[in-house]
């Protein structure tokens, strides 16, 4: 009776595939929008507020 | 197979087994003048005179018939007499150098403890010499070695368990421990691992070392080997187990930690401040022997700004003509050095040291003049070499010599970062290694406060003794 492919191996395979896909995508488009963009969009109002209270002239950071 | 009552059968079987063994002697005699008996022994392994006088003569000349086992026993003036009743036991005893006596009408045979052979006299082990302390070393005879330990620890708590290993070599092995000091689980584990060994011949402790280690692929040894009785004894009282093999002066101590491999007996024979200082020196040079060339390569290739300016100018000048990169130079020189070292180890003592020194100097100098390597590189290799000689045991020096090269390579690729990553990688391996269940890096990780005082310092003696 052949042993069923274990869950761990499936997980490993899926993750590796995801990694390879991501790597390929990044090679073709290094500026691929990523998690940071997502977070930025989610919390846009907060970002604006923080930039506003920064002590730098013009309200810009770094 | 049990022995038969009839002498003829036993003798026939023995002669068949020992066919073409011209050194196995069959000596016929008649006890009391008429009971047939046969004495079997290996000449060269027995005390011939004693055999003649204490066994053969009294048996032959003694009074008459009806010998029982007890009777025959009492006729001879030998202190150690045992009986065996199977053929295999008999063969083992003969092989051990004990003359055996087969008597017609008796289902057992008598074994006399009259073995004797040529052996080396007790000398100081060459690889483990000290300035102060005993100069005895184990020899090849198991019996003598055990006796040496008994002389150091004269207590009945010193337990000795003997058995044989090796389906063909039937080598006597001894497992020794101190009752009350050694954890029973440890002793059990050692014995069970030894019992699991399936091997035809055991000629040295190294043969069984690989079998009973936790991780035989690691470059780091997980058992300590020593030729010194005082070292073995000191580990015995601390609760370790000693394994001895007949035929070799090297004994094994289990378990062993990384730090135990970095200790010498002299640490304990010197004064405590001296002991601590030398210990620190040893740790420092141990690090250098691993990282020396790598640090040089890293700094010269990536982090030149760390070198003081005047030194840097000198080094730059000396490296001007060299066609190789620092990494290649280092590889070349280190390989040459290792080659010289191995070659020098086989040479007879007198020429060995001279050749190594001259060879190193001459080759080094010639290489510098030829513009193949730079003088600072030779210095680094020399210092690293000296540092590696500070490793108290050969077995711990080897992994360091080996690991130097990958770290050098990493240093050449990523500078100091590469060195750090290499060290971390080695640490990952060391932190997971165990020796008979004991973490290899104790007492540093996991931290055990009272073990630490023997690792970081060599605590004064009144502080060291946990047992009364």
């Amino acid at each position: 009776m052949r042993k069923r492919v274990s869950r761990e191996r499936i997980a490993a395979a899926v993750l590796t595939l995801a990694g390879v896909a991501l790597a390929a995508a990044l090679t073709y488009n290094p500026r691929l929008p990523g998690p940071t963009e997502l977070v930025d969009t989610l919390f846009r109002p907060v970002t604006i507020f923080i930039e506003h209270i920064s002590a730098k002239e013009g309200g810009h950071l770094s | 197979m049990k022995l038969s009552r009839h002498l003829r059968d036993n003798v026939r079987r023995l002669r068949a087994v020992y066919s073409d063994c011209s050194d196995v002697i069959f000596h016929e005699l008649r006890i009391g003048g008429h009971t047939p008996a046969m004495l079997v022994f290996i000449e060269g392994m027995i005390m011939l005179e004693e055999l003649d006088q204490q066994v053969i003569a009294p048996l032959r000349d003694g009074p008459g018939p009806g010998p029982s086992l007890e009777d025959v026993r009492s006729r001879t003036a030998v202190a150690s007499i045992r009986t065996v009743s199977t053929l295999n036991e008999l063969l083992d005893e003969i092989a051990d150098g004990h003359p055996v006596l087969l008597v017609d009408g008796l289902e057992a045979a008598l074994v006399y403890g009259l073995s004797h052979w040529e052996q080396r006299s007790v000398e100081e082990p060459t690889a483990e010499s000290v300035l102060r302390g005993p100069r005895e070393g184990f020899i090849e005879s198991l019996r003598t070695n055990i006796a040496m330990l008994r002389r150091k620890i004269r207590s009945p708590k010193l337990k000795v368990i003997t058995f044989r290993l090796g389906s063909q070599s039937r080598t006597p092995i001894a497992v020794i421990y101190m009752e009350g000091a050694a954890a029973p689980a440890l002793v059990r584990e050692v014995l069970s691992r030894l019992n699991r060994i399936e091997i035809t011949d055991v000629l040295e402790t190294a043969y069984i070392e690989e079998w009973i280690e936790d991780n035989r692929f690691s470059p780091f040894p997980q058992l300590l080997s020593t030729e010194r009785p005082d070292v073995a004894a000191s580990y015995l009282v601390e609760g370790h187990v000693v394994i001895m093999v007949e035929g070799t002066p090297t004994v094994l101590v289990a378990p062993a930690t990384f730090f135990s491999l970095l200790q010498t007996p002299e640490d304990y024979y010197e004064r405590y401040v001296v002991g601590t200082a030398i210990r620190w020196l040893r740790y420092f040079f141990f690090a250098i022997s691993l990282l020396g060339p790598s640090l040089y390569v890293a700094v010269v290739t990536f982090h030149q700004e760390m070198i003081p300016t005047t030194l840097m100018l000198t080094m730059a000048r000396s490296r001007e003509q060299i066609p190789f990169t620092a990494l290649m130079e280092a590889f070349l020189m280190e390989t040459m050095f290792e080659a010289l070292r191995e070659a020098g180890a086989r040479l007879p003592k007198q020429i060995g040291s001279a050749v190594s020194i001259v060879g190193a100097l001459v080759i080094g100098q010639a290489a510098i003049s030829a513009g193949i390597v730079s003088a600072p590189m030779v210095m680094v290799v020399a210092i690293t070499g000296i540092a590696s000689f500070m490793a108290p045991r050969y077995t711990i020096g080897i992994p360091i010599r080996l690991l130097r090269f990958p770290i050098m390579f990493l240093a050449g690729m990523m500078g100091l970062l590469g060195v750090i990553l290499g060290v971390i990688a080695i640490l990952i391996h060391l932190l997971q290694l165990r020796s008979f269940g004991v973490p290899y890096m104790s007492p540093l990780a996991p931290i055990q406060k009272h073990g630490l005082k023997d690792v970081l310092f060599r605590a004064p003696r009144w502080n060291l003794n946990r047992r009364s």
Binding site: E8, L22 | I420, L431
Partner: protein, 361 residues
């Protein structure tokens, strides 16, 4: 639970200290300065999130002392919501690990190995971390115990050696606008302080749980002290220039000049700092991997360590196009994200848990 290893409460404290401090002393002073100016040395004192995070982690663990957070969240909030939370959680930790990794990488490449591709630098560290994480929580704990003394020693050494060059006038005038600037400066520090809630993920493995509380508070105090010291010293040396450097503390190391012999020792600083960063990434990566493994219902996390290591490396590159973008993100959008995932959501879970009457034996 997926992890069978055990750590001591002392190891817990050390792990968490090294899981927070190294990057904090590296980039935080520069960012804080833009909000607090010369009051930035006070900012670490407003460690509000720390004061919330520690009891939160302890409380959450007390609800289900021997369950991992993934299991606990399922029990508290129900199977589906718990599952959703666990998924968001490990993805969040993956993102955080990616940021930390990138910070480390930018530091090494920017200041030292300018020719080396970022991918190599990131990949090599992730590879080593992967091996350590595969070894389990015990190994990471042992590393923390091993590296903490070295890290602290070097930190203090650098601080000591730079004392002759410090100018106390740089911190004047003190509090010209009241405490508001230093509070604003502490805003970005809340990210690091809220990272203390990572303790929730490690508490199930602590063998002497009774001492964990003390250990965590000591660690908390240690972090505040370290940040105070590093902010203060950086300010006293660099004054107005503090905000202009990406890695202000590095400048301190560069400044050291002992008898004109020991100069330019910053490579040494990098070496020891890498030890701290290594532990930090190991801890975060460990939480990511175990969280992911339990979320997927696996029995053993070891098979997915290397694939996740690949993902982590890629994340490190993906999260920002360059260093400035990343710093900007840290200073702005990361703050609310961290507060949400480190404080808010666990707090909600805890509230639900207590309201449902759980954890009352």
């Amino acid at each position: 639970m997926i992890e069978k290893g055990k750590i001591s409460s002392a190891q817990l404290g050390k792990m968490i200290y090294l899981a927070i401090t190294p990057t904090a002393i590296l980039t935080a002073p520069g960012i804080s300065f833009n909000f607090a100016r010369q009051d930035l040395w006070l900012s670490p004192l407003w460690a509000i999130c720390g004061v919330i995070a520690v009891p939160l982690a302890l409380g959450l663990n007390r609800l289900y002392p021997d369950c991992s957070p993934v299991q606990a969240s399922r029990k508290i909030a129900g199977r589906i919501p718990g599952w959703v939370f666990a998924g968001a959680n490990w993805l969040f930790y993956l993102y955080m690990s990616g940021i930390i990794l990138r910070e480390y990488g930018e530091f090494v490449v920017g200041a030292f190995l300018s020719e080396t591709p970022l991918l190599i630098v990131l990949g090599s560290l992730v590879l080593v971390c992967a091996f350590a994480v595969r070894g389990g929580v015990e190994i990471v704990g042992r590393f923390a115990g091993l590296f903490l003394p070295a890290f602290l020693t070097l930190f203090l050494l650098i601080v000591l050696l730079i004392i002759p060059d410090l100018q106390i006038t740089n911190m004047m005038p003190i509090l010209p606008e009241g405490i508001l600037p230093s509070l604003k400066g502490s805003l970005v520090l809340q990210i690091w302080f809220s990272e203390l809630s990572i303790a929730w993920f490690l508490l199930p493995y602590v063998s002497d749980r009774e001492n964990a509380k003390k250990s965590l508070w000591i660690t908390f105090g240690g972090i505040i002290l370290t940040l105070l010291l590093s902010n203060w010293v950086t300010l006293l040396l660099l004054g107005d220039l503090t905000g202009g450097y990406s890695f202000p503390f590095l400048i301190l190391a560069r400044y050291i000049d002992l008898a004109e012999f020991f100069t330019h020792l910053e490579a040494l600083f990098m070496a020891i700092w890498v030890l701290g960063a290594f532990v930090k990434i190991c801890v975060f990566f460990y939480v990511t991997v175990t969280g992911a493994a339990e979320w997927m219902g696996l029995r053993d996390y070891r098979p997915i360590v290397f694939p996740m290591a690949l993902l982590l490396t890629l994340f490190g590159i993906w999260i920002a196009a360059n260093f400035q973008e990343m710093t900007h993100a840290i200073a702005t959008s990361l703050i609310p994200l961290a507060l949400t995932m480190f404080i808010l959501v666990p707090a909600i879970l805890y509230a639900i848990g207590r309201l449902r009457g759980q954890g009352r034996q």
